[in-house]
């Protein structure tokens, strides 16, 4: 490739040849720019409205073939909505339908990234509004079903949020059950696949928990002797506690 190097004008004369008025104007203009910027800066704080996400096809066109790159930009832009200088917009004022539509697009653009699900299950699920919590958890659940062995971590967190934040045991149980059913034992650790057991335990449904544990042992999913003993002893303790009381 030929570059047009201007040898003839690459030689430079000393600064002293520059007319004084040019130097003066340059100095004044720089000062004016600094003063003007200092007096007119207003970071464009956006209100709670997150626009509806464009279609996947439109984003594919806009990405110019770089879907992963644009997905990262969208994620950064999205997380700037709730946390801005001088204003902290509570999650409860964000439009969760629009938020979910953007998170969905981010996941479609970069299917192997965990960032959108991390944000959904760890950040946006912290909202003190159970309807919004349920919406975002449902989103995590739907996305988990698409790639269970890769996205089980976020489903496990959804179980925790449903149980302890939303305080909906049935929802937690449903998620925990789906986590057990859809994941593969060789990929996902046992503690995650046994969450259903613990939720049953918390619900006081010890008989169901025992049946489930028996099923897990029989199917060969739990083989470690110590682990079996630990789980059995927990169930035994829970069984005794009500009698003591």
């Amino acid at each position: 490739m030929k570059f047009y190097i201007l040898n003839s004008i690459s030689r430079e004369r000393p600064v002293s040849v520059v007319p004084k008025w040019v130097m003066a104007i340059l100095g004044i203009a720089i000062m004016a720019q600094l003063v003007f910027h200092a007096n007119t800066t207003r970071l464009n704080i956006r209100e709670t409205l997150i626009p509806e996400a464009p279609s996947q096809a439109a984003l594919n066109v806009l990405s110019l073939g770089d879907e992963i790159g644009i997905s990262k930009f969208i994620m950064l832009w999205l997380q700037g909505f709730d946390h801005q200088p001088g204003i902290s917009i509570p999650f409860s004022r964000l439009d969760y339908d629009s938020l979910i539509s953007w998170l969905d697009r981010v996941l479609q653009l970069d299917q192997d990234s965990h960032y959108a699900l991390l944000s959904a299950s760890r950040i946006y699920s912290e909202v003190p509004d159970t309807d919004k919590q349920r919406k975002i958890l449902e989103f995590v659940y739907e996305k988990f079903l698409e790639k269970p062995d890769q996205r089980w971590v976020w489903m496990a967190h959804a179980v925790y949020v449903a149980r302890h934040k939303v305080k909906d045991n049935q929802l937690a149980l449903r998620y925990a059950r789906q986590l057990r059913i859809h994941t593969t034992s060789s990929v996902v650790p046992n503690w995650a696949r046994q969450l259903e057991l613990f939720v049953y335990e918390d619900l006081g449904e010890l008989e169901t928990a025992q049946i489930l544990l028996g099923g897990l042992i029989e199917s060969g999913e739990i083989t470690d002797e110590n682990e079996i003993n630990f789980l059995l002893s927990r169930l035994a303790i829970n069984e005794e506690e009500p009698q003591k009381n």
Binding site: F3, Y4, I5, L6, S8, I9, S10, R11, E12, R13, P14, V15, V17, V18, P19, V22, M23, I25, L26, I28, A29, I30, A32, Q33, L34, F36, H37, A38, T40, T41, L43, N44, I45, L76, W77, Q79, G80, H83, Q84, P85, I123
Partner: protein, 257 residues
């Protein structure tokens, strides 16, 4: 009608070069393509058709103008330097500032013609008053890009580097607002030295850049415009243009011909 003084003579011949380079034929073809795209989008949109069309035209049209003028300024000036046309003009009783202002005026006329042509097309979809304000802002934006292209060429003396520098500067100026927003408010407040350094650096860069995100906004065409917005645009253009012109003259004065 022939120009009457040295500055307008240089401007006249700079503008003529653009006409002889078939730049206006390219503009015409570009506008016809834009019209086709706008109509195509109009057929696709199921609602807010006019807003879709005007947004698309405004966005693509602005990029078309910026890229065209930046490329033309850089290639035209470098050709003049290589052909020794610049040496010839400066060997006459023409000062460097006169030469500089003549060239800038010629490029300004070129930008104005392209911007006006674009606006004529946009009249099909946009409200006249909002379009007038948008057009003035577009011309302000274009003239900053022209002066910047000249400065980059004087500084780097290379087409590729000057063009990349100009476009990078332009994109940074249009997005610095958003970059600042992200840098000063990360979700993880780690308070590490690197985070503080990057935040300070971004703020420092913002100080010396024109905030072009407040120029030529598509929302003016879609949702209406507040005339007060123009105060910022005009003052920022005056200050930054003065800065770029002074920096350009500084570099030009030091060039050995």
């Amino acid at each position: 009608m022939m120009p009457v003084n040295k500055t307008t003579t240089i401007a006249y011949y700079t503008f003529r070069e653009a006409t002889q380079n078939q730049l206006f034929v390219l503009t015409l073809i570009g506008l016809v393509c834009l019209l086709g795209v706008a109509e195509f989008v109009g057929d696709l949109a199921i609602s807010e058709t006019r807003q879709f069309q005007i947004s698309l035209l405004a966005n693509i049209g602005r990029w078309f103008l910026v890229i065209t003028v930046a490329l033309f300024v850089i290639t035209s000036m470098i050709r003049e330097f290589n052909d020794k046309g610049c040496d010839l003009i400066l060997s006459l009783p023409v000062s460097k500032p006169t030469y500089y202002f003549g060239k800038l005026l010629g490029y300004f006329l070129l930008g104005l013609v392209i911007a006006l042509s674009l606006s004529v097309l946009m009249l099909l979809y946009a409200d006249t008053q909002a379009l007038m304000i948008w057009l003035i802002s577009l011309v302000c934006e274009a003239v900053i890009v022209m002066a910047l292209s000249m400065l980059c060429l004087f500084t780097f003396s290379n087409i590729t580097i000057a063009f990349i520098a100009t476009i990078s500067f332009y994109m940074l100026s249009r997005s610095i607002d958003a970059i600042q927003l992200i840098s000063v408010s990360p979700i993880l407040e780690t308070n590490t030295i690197s985070q503080e350094f990057m935040t300070s650096l971004v703020n420092l860069i913002a100080f010396v850049l024109p905030d072009l995100s407040r120029f030529t906004r598509t929302e003016w065409l879609v949702y209406g415009v507040n005339i007060d917005e123009m105060g910022f645009v005009l003052v920022q253009t005056a200050i930054y243009l003065t800065l770029l012109v002074a920096a350009g003259l500084f570099d030009l004065s030091r060039k050995e011909f």
